[in-house]
Amino acid sequence: MNEVQNASLRIGWATRNVTPDRPVVLGAQHRMRVSEGVDGPVTVTALAMSAGEPAGDSIIFVSCDTGGFRHRWYDENDYLPLCRAAVRARTSEIDVDRIVLHATHSHTAPNTLIGRFGDAAPEGVMTAEECMDVFVNGIAEAAVEAWSNRQPAGVSWGLGTAVVGHNRRATYFDEASDRRGGAVVNGFTRMYGETNDPEFSHIEGYEDHYVDLFYTWDGGRNLTGVVVNLACPAQETEMGMRISADFWHEIREEIRRRHGKHVQILAQCSSAGDQSPHRLWYKQAEERMLKLRGLTMRQEIGRRVADAVDDVLPAARASIETSVPFRHAIKDIRLPRRMVSDEEAATVRSDLAKLEAEAQAGANNYRLMRPCRRVLERYESQKESPEIVMELHVVRVGDMAFATNRFELFLDFGIRIKARSPAVQTFVVQLAANDGWTGSYLPSERAVANKGYGGSVYNNEIGPEGGRVIVEETVKVLNELWER
């Protein structure tokens, strides 16, 4: 092993607390929730890496405790450009195109999307614009500080295990929408469907209980930080009324309790469009164990992930690398839109008419009507605009790689990327900010066939064909980075 002091890799970390000091609207679910306090701070954490100063490659990952990077609707979304501009305003040293923002997908983070719930924020509650300012400043400050903190460093990586994410799509022998009067999105599959139903057949997709871990070390071979990549969104307490980073707060607390407060933790959500910390079946056995252990599920997840970090740590400590191939490729790839068929458009028109009639009678259908209108907008514009662009980042560090995408990417796609990657270990990172709308579901072929929330036309701008393009392009870029 090379000595860390002479390392060609340079690494810096920084973090910012972006928890608002006033009530906010929480940025998820189909109804407005005004926060009633804080249940663990919301943070942004930046990891800057570069090689071969001053002209070498670089990356700045910024992990954000947020549901996603949405400031304005659809093509008007300017979250990423605002953040990059804020960095550029602070320094000219950073190539802002090499900044990657990615979300933990917390459903209890402040809302930054203007007009999410149709109405303005209630009096005394921070507006989406104000929340956005807090995030943009926090992200920019963390990115700049991490960059300026860079020091010669070592890195290592490994694979641990922790049961956190579960597939959330219950599939039935019969058409679930036929017999339950369920929402129009339902087919043979229901998200969070009951599994003690005699018609329950199987869980639609796979689960990934591996944890990808990337450790950083200073010149004294002391642990400075760890990237933790989990195939699960941060949504254990997603229905809560308090601002929180969800289980990432407990993960950070537990790792720092064991390894010191100085240790930085960069949270990454792997491909997890069909995953959730909520177990659909066998809940009674899990809940009993929690009770016996005297922990909340978030604390239990913190324990499991910290255990995984500890399990891998000896091997990671024994395999620190300081001079390894380091490459960062950025590529705009074009993805075919999921086309709305004539039949789907007709169904949606009919649904929208019903919702509008109910709304006129006083029902608050705003959050249901908007996706309908979006489907019809897509139907009208899809011929003129049949593709969208995704900014793909692929980073090679030694024998491992990071590969990003902008979606809630169903696990099947992540598995395909990992299986075909030339890297020994590949960290897939979903919900990476893009110029434009970030974060719709990207369903697998079987999810589209089975429908259900996340698999229906309402929930995805891009379908399985686009997912296959992401897989092919990502694998292609990975191979190029290995061939260079």
């Binding site: 694979l159 057949s201 796979y206």
Partner: protein
């Protein structure tokens, strides 16, 4: 339930026995012969005897076998009926860890022979189409059955007041081994790095069920460990091995005590397998971690199981049940046969003919040149052709059988122990069915146990749609329809023990 030591109402006994053959045997688990060339780890059987206050009893026996031949099950029960007074032999449940480097079988086809109506054969040539220098299987069956019955008797006679506790841990061990492609077809071990790879066909389950027993002095005496993965890391070896369960037992005894018994159960895992490159997207990273740990793959798996169980122990210990409700049932349930169609039959016949021709060619070649027998493992190609011929030919037998009966009998055991349930079936039971049972069960925790008997694959509907080994007519006497019947029966039986605690045998 309580935290004080036991009041003597529930009685528990344990015993284990080594059933490693002392001479070369033919290892079962692949569709070709492997004459054992040594021993990696011993083959064992472990028995847990339980008797409730009201005299209901059961003996669970786990064997490091591919499956449990009906002849062994029958012989063990008959012997216990003679030597273990008070024990209802019907409550004796034998299950297999599904190691592919073990012995014990009945008819030609190995697992599933009884379901195909085959009887025990004695001559290895009948299994493999050539003479092999190895112990005759019927002889091993007799010897092993005697030793297993003796262990069960010892477990029964040693039963003493005790308590039970249980819990759920996690260990990433099994992976879905059925690889689906964009074409809609599936191939077992099909290759996830294929550009046409779409997804693992089914799910995976990383839960580890643990049911502990303590004596009246609160000393841990044993643990039942349920993992939804067959014991098949070493499945292509030519040496006898209990596979990862040997390592799991050693690791557990290191942590829990040398005299602690470990009863291994294979959960619903007809479509599961320990990881390998062709099915596991993270294989390279996983393999690197095993290498960095300095352990073998079996040892790494053993460590994971032991750590999961050890983490559950202090929690289970908080709720030791000294007087658990105990109910059990044993019923033979008739399940719908998977119907063999004329095209199925034609396809199987064509394949059988191809393998028969290959076998006969190799047989003639051996007859013309006997010195070929001096080559190491000379018998592999010819036995592969012969086994496949016979395997495909079994479809014809099933086609004939379905004219007489549209159902297949399967022995199902359901046991309530306190707030936990154990539900067995004789199949290589696809995970989808296991999840259905666990999801619908009223028990706080349900241990689904496959291969309690000599079944073969019981595929899910999506597996039949995908095809490939493990879902083809040749490997599945019972299909998804029968699987659903089995699930519904099992769920109703389990739940009846909760709805009517006095019910059961």
């Amino acid at each position: 339930m309580g935290i004080k030591a036991g009041g003597g109402l529930f009685r528990i006994g344990w015993a284990s026995v080594d059933v490693t053959p002392t001479e070369p045997v033919c290892l079962w688990g692949q569709l070709y012969a492997r004459v054992s060339e040594g021993v990696i780890s011993p083959i064992t059987a472990t028995a847990l005897a339980m008797e409730s206050e009201d005299g209901q009893s059961s003996v669970l026996i786990s064997c490091d076998f591919v499956s449990v031949p009906e002849v062994i099950q029958k012989a063990v029960r008959e012997e216990l009926a003679r030597t273990a007074p008070g024990l209802d032999a019907e409550g004796v449940v034998l299950s297999a860890t599904h190691t592919h480097t073990s012995v014990a079988r009945t008819g030609f086809g190995g697992p599933g022979s009884a379901l195909r109506g085959e009887t025990e054969t004695r001559d290895l040539a009948e299994y493999y189409g050539v003479d092999l220098d190895a112990m005759d299987p019927a002889g091993y069956n007799r010897w092993a059955a005697g030793r297993i019955a003796e262990a069960a008797r010892r477990a029964w006679e040693s039963r003493a007041p005790g308590g039970i506790g249980f819990g759920l841990g996690y260990a990433t061990i099994g992976h879905n081994r059925r690889v689906s492609f964009y074409s809609g077809t599936t191939r077992m071990y099909g290759g996830v790095n294929d550009p046409d790879f779409s997804h693992p066909e089914g799910g995976t389950y990383t839960g580890v069920g643990a049911l502990f027993t303590w004596d009246a002095g609160r000393k841990l005496t044993g643990v039942v460990v349920n993992v939804a993965c067959p014991s098949q890391i070493l499945e292509h070896e030519f040496k006898i091995a209990a596979d990862f369960w040997h390592d799991a037992r050693e690791e557990l005894r290191d942590r829990l005590g040398e005299d602690v018994h470990v009863l291994a159960q294979c959960g619903p895992a007809g479509d599961q397998s320990p990881g390998r490159e062709s099915i596991q997207a993270d294989w390279k990273a996983h393999e690197r971690m095993v290498r960095l740990s300095g352990r073998t793959a079996c040892r790494e798996t053993g460590v994971r199981i032991a750590e999961a169980v050890s983490a559950v122990l202090p929690l289970a210990e908080k709720e030791i049940d000294w007087t658990p409700r105990f109910r059990r049932s044993c019923e033979t349930v008739n399940l719908s046969r998977r119907n063999i169609t004329a095209p199925d039959l034609a396809e199987a016949a064509a394949q059988a003919e191809q393998h028969r021709a290959e076998y006969e060619h190799l047989r003639d070649e051996l007859a013309a040149n006997p010195r070929l027998r001096e080559d190491p493992r000379w018998y592999v190609p010819i036995t592969r052709a012969y086994c496949r011929w016979r395997w495909q030919s079994s479809v014809q037998k099933r086609f004939e059988a379905q004219q007489a009966s549209v159902t297949v009998p399967a022995e199902i055991h359901v046991i309530r122990i306190g707030e936990a349930a154990i539900a067995t079936n004789p199949f290589e039971f696809y995970l989808d069915f296991g999840l259905q049972i666990m999801a619908r069960s009223k028990a706080a925790q349900t241990f689904v146990v496959q291969l309690a008997g000599e079944g073969t694959y019981l595929p899910s509907a999506r597996a039949v749609a995908g095809g490939s080994y493990g879902a083809t007519p040749a490997s599945t006497p019972v299909g998804p329809e029968g699987g659903r019947e089995l699930v519904n029966y099992t769920v109703e039986k389990i739940n009846s023990f909760w709805d009517d605690p006095a019910g059961g045998a």
